[in-house]
Subunit: 337 residues, 2 copies
């Protein structure tokens, strides 16, 4: 109580205490733990790794739902309505955001929690905006670790939301048990706006805004997507009838219950058939390999001697004194066998 | 003459002879040298590096023209007509193809040389199809090295052609002195089909098929692109009036001479202003860094002990015995500081 260095003590409880509080589902401790894993300071990284290792012993799992939707589809409103519905069903819900654009602006999709006013006030919910980091690999790692933390904290469902641009959709799909595409009602031409690769990743397509004037357009859009999904090759990890397209309305609540029961049905089938565990195992292995690659490449910039040698040889190559291959071999030799 | 192992001798002349023959512009030797650099066998890689290092002493430069055009714009016909025009102007022309899709099919854009019948028969021309390799990084490296070889062989112009899909356009732009976008006449709506990033990379936009029925559409398309180019931010490496949009016809020969004189004017200006050397230096440095990264990552798969350790730890992670971070740290430690 008196021997610990005061500065560290003021910032963070000791690791065992923090782990215990996260495990007890304390939202404040969870928020602190996520801040810790988002830190890029080497001493914080070591603590993060230890914390995650400790909590992994709990073996708690949440249903990880990836949710992609471009701006304008009413994603925040949907998450608010869907999250409240889950809470009403007795579940604890966490929402994590992945916004690749926030790496530039420093902002975040969920920075404005007022768009999810009820959900953000609910004690059964935990909402965390996107980390502002410089590259997608970093965002991916931090998000994966945040997912592991909210699972350890006993949440039943984690919604991992992203805007449907660039590679963030794929990244989110790769850390989810189920991947949901949220779309707005639109004419048939705009069907092509959904990337084929993403269509093939989706487990459930939800056409939002099926209310008021847009209801008939939503009905048609939903039928269009259902038709398009039937054209895709059947995947071994799908039971009969999946992937599916449904209509929902975040405003009237239409379809939210059905969406949830479809998600549960799909999750249960995959658990029973072994696809759930196989997918999680493959994902975990993929993350491990990605971390090894990132760690290896980090040596080129983190080690001063290597950086100096890279600069020197890079200048020689630029001046035409050495070929790129020759110079690369030189560096790789000094980086050791 | 008698001591060398006969198998290797039958396949390839010794390195000095090969280098001399490439330097003398012998097309057969050049083709062999390119086959050598395309080989993935470790002993061939060592020979390639030595050959490139030896030939780099010649300090010969060709004008490297990157050329992108989607199927249907008449790329082969354009290259045939443009290549013949350059030969008629007394120049030696090499054509290298980069086709990312050939990694799957094993085919290549230029596999059918009959589409460039005159050019492929001309002694002043050298045409080489895309290497069939498994990843873009490999294609990039082989193509860069093939460019270095044709430069050493004394060619004046190298056309590096690619289909405008995926990342191959960017790759080709990054190994060119000038980047040319070949487009077909089309309505204004299709303007959006050109990726903004590629528009910003182009030095010259050529609207092909400005003949017969399509002439008036081509005129309008060209004006549309000229307008679009004016909206882009001015780049320091461009003189007044560039990037430019021109009409050409590979069939009637319209605009081919003008296109070539614009390319020469741009190249000369960049040489005089120091942009040419700066760009080549930056490109060479970038390749060096890319090769170091690729070489470092190759260790994960090439070294048996590392591969075994990766498999073992990967299985532990998949089974939930270790977190991805913990396992990654283990491997990185054994890969040694």
């Amino acid at each position: 109580m008196t021997a610990a260095p005061p500065r560290r003590k003021a910032r963070l409880p000791d690791l065992d205490t923090l782990a215990d509080r996260v495990a007890a589902g304390e939202r404040r401790a969870l928020a602190r733990a996520i801040t810790l894993i988002e830190s890029t300071r080497p001493e914080d990284r070591a603590l993060s790794t230890a914390l995650l290792q400790k909590l992994s012993g709990l073996k708690r799992q949440a249903l990880r739902i990836g949710l992609s939707g471009t701006p304008g589809v009413g994603k925040s409103t949907f998450i608010e309505a869907f999250g409240i519905a889950l809470i009403d069903a007795g579940l604890k819900v966490a929402v994590l955001a992945v916004d690749p654009s926030s790496t530039r602006t420093g902002g975040s999709i969920l920075g404005d929690k007022t768009r999810m006013e009820r959900l953000s006030r609910a004690p059964e919910a935990f909402i965390r905006p996107s980390p502002s980091l410089s590259h997608l690999g970093g965002v991916s790692r931090r998000t994966r670790e945040a997912v592991a933390l909210v699972e350890a904290a006993g949440f039943d469902v984690v919604l991992i939301e992203t805007v449907g641009v660039g590679q963030s959709e794929t990244m989110v799909a790769e850390m989810s048990d189920l991947f949901v595409l949220l779309l707005a009602p639109a004419g048939g031409d705009e069907l092509q706006g959904v990337k084929r690769g993403i269509m093939e990743t989706a487990d459930l397509i939800l056409v939002n805004k099926a209310d008021g004037d847009l209801k008939s357009t939503a009905t048609r859009t939903c039928a269009d997507y259902a038709g398009a999904l039937r054209l895709l090759r059947k995947r071994p990890e799908d039971p009969e009838g999946f992937p599916k397209a449904l209509m929902v309305s975040a405003v009237t609540g239409l379809g939210l219950e059905q969406a949830w029961s479809e998600m549960q049905a799909l999750a249960k089938w995959r658990q029973a058939e072994g696809h759930w565990d196989a997918r999680r195992a493959a994902q975990a292995r993929g993350w491990f390999e990605a971390e090894v690659r990132a760690g290896l490449l980090a040596r080129l910039t983190e080690d001063t001697a290597t950086r100096t040698a890279m600069d020197r040889l890079g200048a020689d190559v630029a001046a035409g004194k050495l070929t790129a291959s020759q110079a690369a071999e030189n560096i790789l030799e000094t980086l050791g066998a």
